[in-house]
């Protein structure tokens, strides 16, 4: 638009200039013609000396008159001369009459009148002049008289002519003066106009020169920019013909510019495999189609060097409209170095990751390898303590146990860090009682606290919320660390633990546990480092108490794994407060029975299958179990364990994982898949390998729980107490499934009968079911009709007791038996009967009169 307007203005200016120029030239030409005409008039028209001629006429007349007078006086008179003088005057008058010089003069009456009279005089005299000499002599007096009469006319004629020509001369001078003045004015005007035009042209010229210089400079700058650019710059037209090609392009592609310019992009730098696509793209753009690469930012592709090498490039293309059509400017960068560097970097990263993984694997393996012998050591120490010892020996053993446990905890710390850093730390959220957990820790630490003269107490801020779903092992680890530290660094002060459930809008609430002590406090600068690994204070206490410096580092990792945070506020000499906060899921209190820990002392004898290849560990475990009064059957590998489980019914199987012949996981799957007597027996994995995902795998194989090596007496007996009953109801450890017994039937019976009568009823029912199952299982020849009747009767009792699964199983037996009575098909009956023991094993633990502290039904092992 602006361009258009300026173009129109330029055209208008040009037109105006041409018009002015034309007018000027025409004016000059016209004036020049005028001047030339005037000059010609001056030169030619006024030619000959007219005044002289006019005065000459009078002179010649007087000459004639003089000769007339002389002729009258002389004798004989000179007639020849007289005639000649007459002729001369006659000729003069003729000139005046006919010459074009006097044409304008003749128009003046002042001239024409005397001319006519003079002519009349001549005509009157001519006859006498032309006559013979005698006649002429005779006529001389008359001729003189006539001449004298005409003298005035001749004078008038002369004067009139002189006056006229004087005026004419004036007029002409005026004309010339006017014309010259006009011309001078015109020339001045033209000169001014030309001057103006000159200035304007000079201005335009200087402007053009400046613009040209600017363009030249810009072009030079562009050329320098292009030539010094590190990227290749290639300019091509719509046909892909290269128009410009900088030195970087020469270096990158190997073609000299002289060779490249004029060639097509396709022939020069496009690899053969992209040639077809390139040509198609160019054709599409020429046809005004979509531009897929132009102005689309950075694009990565491959290009070809002069030596045929294909290499990766990154490029950007822009188009520009020029007078010669659309051109494309491509900036290309050789990224082969970058691509190689990226590849190297990736490889380095992969190597580093692989190294990290092998380190983690090494640590995990080492921890396993260290724990296994340590397990043996601690186990034997524990057995040794049961023997008769002197007081001194007992002290030594206690010291050894302390050192061993410390070593174990260090190994655990290292393993925990390894797992966390490797991203393998998995949480195992279960239903837990946070109050009980904290109470345990307080109980555990209260001895140390009172030894330091420190009071240790805990309590809820706000309403208590005992039951949560979270990972109790991690929480215990965290709190043991933090509370342990507080107790360790406080002398004659107090340590208080405050627990608070902080509700949040949406989502689970946070549990905040604050551990406040009045101990030595922490330096401000050290506060920032206390959660770092191997961070130990430099105090006397620290040296006194020792430590790896990993405790808080692990605590922080665990808190983070729980999705929370841990922070510290401390003042040197005043005390410290650790605030631990993480999200939890509050749940309702589960059935109290499930949580009631059976005291090992009250545990009843169980039959346990111990599967372990390491003889020392096997002996330790066996001795621990035997000391607690359990019966132990040993198997050194998984295969033997499967055979034993097939043939015998055990209350519990302790299964090592890594074993020769058949490992623990395969053995577990085989036992669960089989129809053996121990197919439903709880199986506890015993492993030093504490990786969470592996533990999950164990559970999915059919194992019920996991014991971590080294085995401790407490852990072993606790697991037996929890799982050692035949068919402990599943779900107690977070594997919920519909209860095989609807407990409200029993609750109702208890309410109406009382505890003792209910127990009697239940005992009779249990005995009856046991007997029936034994009869059905050991009498394959029993008639279908009898089987159906037996099943039917027990099913009725089962319904009364709420044993819904057992009732369903018995009804299935009854139905199958009735069908068999008609068809003789006993296979279905046997299958239905075979399913009953497992159902009964699951249902039986529920059939107790009291919810808590009820005497356990005697296991019929």
């Amino acid at each position: 638009m602006v361009q258009l307007r300026s173009r129109t203005a330029r055209r208008a200016r040009l037109g105006l200039s041409v018009l002015l120029g034309t007018i000027g030239v025409v004016a000059i030409v016209l004036m020049a013609i005028n001047v030339a005409r005037d000059l010609r008039l001056l030169n030619s028209a006024s030619s000959d000396n007219v005044q002289w001629t006019l005065s000459q006429a009078e002179v010649e007349f007087l000459e004639y008159e003089l000769h007339l007078e002389r002729a009258l006086r002389d004798s004989p008179p000179d007639l020849t001369t007289l005639r000649r003088e007459f002729d001369i005057f006659y000729s003069r008058v003729n000139t005046l009459r006919y010459s074009s010089l006097y044409a304008t003069l003749r128009e003046s009456p002042a001239f024409l009148d005397p001319l006519g009279k003079v002519q009349f005089f001549l005509d009157a005299s001519v006859e006498a002049i032309d006559a013979d000499d005698a006649t002429l002599t005779q006529a001389l007096p008359d001729l003189l008289q006539q001449a004298r009469d005409s003298r005035g006319d001749v004078r008038m004629l002369s004067n009139a002519g002189l006056n006229f020509f004087a005026e004419d001369s004036d007029r002409r001078r005026n004309n010339v003066a006017v014309t010259l003045t006009q011309m001078a004015a015109g020339v001045t005007f033209l000169l001014l106009a030309l001057l103006g035009l000159t200035f304007y042209l000079s201005y335009l010229n200087s402007q053009n020169i400046r613009r040209r210089a600017e363009v030249v400079q810009a072009s030079a700058r562009m050329k320098i920019v292009m030539q010094t650019a590190l990227d290749a710059v290639i300019v091509s037209d719509q046909d892909g013909i290269i128009l410009d090609y900088n030195s970087a392009a020469e270096q990158i592609f190997g073609h000299p510019a002289s060779h490249a310019i004029g060639k097509t992009l396709g022939a020069l730098i496009v690899p053969d495999q992209y040639l077809a696509a390139h040509e198609a793209g160019m054709e599409r753009m020429r046809a005004g189609g979509e531009k897929r690469v132009v102005a689309k930012g950075r694009i990565k592709l491959e290009a070809k060097r002069a030596n045929g090498e294909i290499f990766p490039v990154e490029f950007a293309i822009q188009s520009a409209d020029t007078d010669a059509g659309e051109i494309f400017i491509a900036f290309l960068r050789d990224i082969s170095h970058r691509v190689r560097a990226e590849k190297d970097l990736l490889e380095a990263r992969d190597r580093a990751l692989a190294g990290e993984k092998s380190k983690t694997d090494f640590l995990a393996t080492m921890s396993h390898e260290i724990r296994t012998p340590l397990n043996g050591l601690l186990g034997n120490l524990s057995l040794l303590r049961e023997t008769r010892l002197s007081a001194r020996q007992a002290r030594y053993i206690k010291n050894m146990e302390t050192s061993g446990k410390l070593l174990m905890s260090h190994i655990s710390d290292v393993l925990d860090i390894t797992k966390y850093d490797a991203g393998k730390l998995r949480l195992r959220p279960v239903a837990m009682n946070i109050s009980a957990l904290i109470q345990d820790i307080v109980d555990n630490q209260s001895g140390a606290a009172s030894a330091n003269g420190t009071s240790l107490k805990w309590g809820w801020l706000g309403p208590a919320s005992d039951w949560l779903r979270s990972d109790p092992d991690r929480i215990q680890h965290i709190l043991m660390n933090v509370v342990g530290n507080a107790v360790k660094f406080t002398r004659d002060g107090s340590v208080s633990i405050e627990v608070e459930l902080i509700r949040r809008d949406g989502g689970n609430p946070d549990l905040q546990i604050s551990v406040r002590d009045t101990g030595i406090g922490i330096d401000a600068e050290f506060q920032a480092q206390i959660f770092d690994d191997f961070a130990t204070g430099n105090s006397a206490y620290d040296r006194e108490t020792g430590g790896t410096g990993l405790g808080l580092g692990i605590a922080q990792r665990f808190v983070k794994a729980l999705g929370g945070s841990i922070e510290v506020e401390s003042e040197k000499g005043i005390g410290s407060t650790f605030r631990i906060r993480f999200p939890v899921e509050p749940i309702a209190a589960p059935d109290a029975r499930h949580q009631a820990k059976i005291a090992p002392d009250h545990a009843e004898a169980r039959s346990v299958l111990l599967v372990e290849d390491n003889e020392i560990n096997r002996v330790v475990a066996r001795e621990m179990l035997a000391a607690a009064g359990h019966r132990v059957t040993e198997a050194p590998n998984g295969k033997l364990a499967v055979d034993l489980a097939q043939a015998q019914r055990f209350d519990l199987i302790l299964m090592d994982i890594s074993m020769p012949v058949m490992d623990g996981r395969s053995a577990t799957r085989a036992i669960r898949a089989g129809q053996g007597l121990s197919a439903q027996t709880p199986i506890i994995a015993v492993t030093a390998n504490a990786m969470a995902e592996e533990q999950q795998a164990f559970l999915s194989d059919g194992m019920n729980d996991i014991l971590t090596k080294p085995l401790t007496r407490e852990a072993l007996l606790a697991v037996i107490a929890n799982h050692g009953q035949p068919a402990d109801p599943p779900g107690a450890k977070g594997q919920p499934s519909p209860a095989p017994v609807a407990r409200h039937y029993i609750d109702e019976l208890r309410d109406s009968l009382g505890v003792a009568p209910l127990q009697g009823l239940l005992d009779r029912f249990i005995a009856e079911v046991d007997q029936t199952l034994t009869d059905l299982g050991t009498s394959p020849d029993m008639a279908p009709k009898d089987i159906a009747a037996r099943a039917h009767r027990i099913a009725g009792s089962a319904a009364t007791m709420g044993a819904v699964d057992l009732r369903a199983g018995l009804i299935a037996v009854e139905t199958a038996a009735k069908t068999a009575a008609k068809t003789g098909d006993k296979a279905a009956v046997q299958a239905a009967i075979a399913a009953l023991p497992a159902i009964w094993a699951a249902s039986r633990p529920y059939l107790r009169a009291e919810r808590r502290e009820a005497p356990r039904p005697r296991d019929k092992a």
Partner: protein, 168 residues
């Protein structure tokens, strides 16, 4: 070129003057033109005299032109001034032409060129009387060139011519 010729002719005239003197006839009729001064050929006392017949015998030149003194275009017959200069071996630089009434004008010798002025003795085929600016009238071919239409040329166009003096 012409000037060279003239100079050559002049040089020749000085040496061959007697030869030409015999060639120039003596006028039989009324003398109408007397050429005197620096001339090579004579037929009288230091002069060359011409009657009409002698002039007519010389190579004639015709000029058709208008004049400022007459109406319309006229045909003038006469002897070219160059022819006369040639014939008489005139040297010097100027011809002083005199009229019957003693009007005099100087004509530079350089005017005597081919297609230049003539000494006309006839106008429109008739001899000219004194009343008609005769008997001889120097006529330039005014129409042929603007150079011949200047005031100087008009002043040299002497009529009623009867004498020419070749002067230095």
């Amino acid at each position: 070129m012409f000037r060279t010729l003239i100079h050559t002719a002049a040089a020749l005239a000085l040496t061959a003057a007697p030869l030409w003197a015999e060639d120039l006839a003596t006028p039989k009729g009324t003398v109408i033109l007397t050429v005197s001064g620096q001339i090579a050929a004579t037929n009288a006392e230091g002069a060359a005299q011409f009657d009409l017949e002698m002039l007519e015998a010389m190579e004639a030149t015709t000029v058709e032109t208008s004049t400022i003194w007459t109406e319309g275009t006229h045909r003038f017959d006469g002897v070219a001034l160059a022819t006369l200069v040639d014939r008489l071996g005139i040297t010097g630089s100027t011809l002083r032409a005199l009229a019957i009434n003693d009007y005099a004008v100087d004509i530079p010798l350089t005017d005597a060129v081919e297609n230049g002025p003539i000494i006309a003795y006839k106008m429109d085929g008739a001899t000219m009387s004194v009343r008609d600016k005769g008997p001889l009238w120097i006529i330039y071919p005014y129409d042929s060139s603007a150079e011949y239409r200047s005031e100087v040329i008009y002043s040299r166009s002497i009529w009623q011519l009867d004498r020419i003096e070749a002067i230095e």
